[in-house]
Symmetry: C2
Subunit: 339 residues, 2 copies
Amino acid sequence: MAQKIKLSTIAETLGLSTATVSLALRDSPLVAGATRDKIKEQARALGYIYNRRAASLRTSRSGIIGVVVHDIMNPFYAEILKSIESELDRSRQTFILSNHYDSVEKQRTFIETLLQLGGDGVIMSPAIGTPPEDIRLAEDNNMPAILIARSVEGLDVPIFRGDDSYGISLATNHLISLGHTCIAMVGGTDQTSTGRDRYQGYVNALRRANIEVDPELRIPGPRSKLGGFEAAVTFLSLPQKPTAAVCWNDLVAIGMMNGIARAGLVPGRDVSVTGYDDLEEASIATPALTTVANGQTEVGRNAARALLDKLSGSHEPDGIHLIKPEMRIRQSTGPVKQR
Amino acid sequence: MAQKIKLSTIAETLGLSTATVSLALRDSPLVAGATRDKIKEQARALGYIYNRRAASLRTSRSGIIGVVVHDIMNPFYAEILKSIESELDRSRQTFILSNHYDSVEKQRTFIETLLQLGGDGVIMSPAIGTPPEDIRLAEDNNMPAILIARSVEGLDVPIFRGDDSYGISLATNHLISLGHTCIAMVGGTDQTSTGRDRYQGYVNALRRANIEVDPELRIPGPRSKLGGFEAAVTFLSLPQKPTAAVCWNDLVAIGMMNGIARAGLVPGRDVSVTGYDDLEEASIATPALTTVANGQTEVGRNAARALLDKLSGSHEPDGIHLIKPEMRIRQSTGPVKQR
DNA sequence: GGGCATGCTCTAAAGGATTCGATAAACTGT
DNA sequence: ACAGTTTATCGAATCCTTTAGAGCATGCCC
């Protein structure tokens, strides 16, 4: 309040130059030990606050990293963010978070803001329909980007994600092995690479088992609990009377189980349901959800490390980094039972 | 990549001064319309990126607002954040988000980082045990703070929160009116103002109905789904055989309903359960959760507006701003039934 | 004692936008 | 035609830190 304390304030009170003070505070070996201690002590005493904007103006390094995903409230992204956070924390980077809600517009605004702030890099799960130029804008202005979860055509920035096609085929195979032959696929969209991959995994698994693929058994759209809840109605009224559902993710699966229960049926006994992601919540759902662990923690950690490596120039982690999903079998799936 | 475009680049290519360019880009009436258009056009053509750090060095306004809460993954905070976000968005402020996970240490680090970046203000739900000095640090360095959800003793910064004591008493009264007399309180902690207020609301409602308060009926601790899930076991083994539970929040209530179902009982019929917060999820839970709407949207919106007002100097929103909670009766509560 | 390291500190020039006060040009009214 | 406005633009200082490059002791060796 009183007076802004700056380097020169410290310098004057000690009869030194700002250069020395600046170096001392950053532990430069150029400054004598005794001087350094005196300076640090004085800085503390005066309540000095380092001015990063002034510093970064000079050094063109801001210590800011941007992270933008579809929706941070979605536990799938939240778990990724948590692991990014713990990775960045230890390297003293500040991170700025944003949702784009699949608005290309909002996403571009975020990238521009980040550029204005001098962001050092950005980790993003690109919005549906992201034009490659928007990401090149970042790269061209010296702000490297790393993608997570979704790819963008025509770009060669590093990307970290689970192997969606393989993961969904695991879930589908599991249902097939329980005797199910009429299996619906609930949720997701063809507009993202993830959506296409997951549907493909489902189709592949059915084909391999010589089960005919019926497009009517696909209920596209839902990606949230509410979506899954509502899709239960559609599912239960399908004329083919499917006995199982491969859901887009755990949220859809949990919502759908709630919808099924509301209709008086018992999920896991009357209808088998699989999720995807293995959120913390999956194991405490009723019944406990059979799902596919999608490696959120690895995705976040590896993406953050890759960016830090790139920034420190030690390593260029280009290309696609796939993480192998794993099956988690619980109580929401069981042997086939006619309705 | 090629060359950094700055104000002076634009100025030179047009034969103008940086002063004029700077003014034009900010739509100053001092600049002639034709000149302004020419400048803006050129800025776009060159791919000029506004350098906020340089600007804020001069103006000491960064356009950055910090938001720190216990855990952004918690849907209660997530809903607040969403409403803060939409409020700040329209005033072109960037916001930086952080969790403190109730670590005073982590919270202070965040405040310091924000000060270094020249944050204009901070909205926070203070960590348990936050010393008033930590918040004064912000205020003293010209970065106003607004509290949400929790208070800190010995401070007169504005605070926005629900009326917890009143809210919980609504839920408790509702159970009492259904005939319940042995009602447990599940979750929460005495270490936060919210925790103390909610317990007090529960106690008050019982006393008003002449029901004796049994401290053994309190199961403190849980604040998450998993916590509620585990607390169900404790609850069901209480010798007093309570017929209803007032839960700390919706997460605890939903977790607890899952735990109760896992034990073979039907929540809403065998045991009545109330939540708190009215998350989106409450209405699709099985059974749909009776809960108390806590006004997250208002809290977020009002807090954000208050901060913006304070920054623009138009208004000093000091003091406590309580939001009146409202009852939402659904299927998780019903008439008393002996177990 | 002269020549050279070595160790520590300082001077001054960036870095990019904003803004006060000055200036020049165009216009007003008489 | 001239003093007085108004309008549009500019010069230069300023915000605070970093960092070459210079400078000055001191100590050491031959």
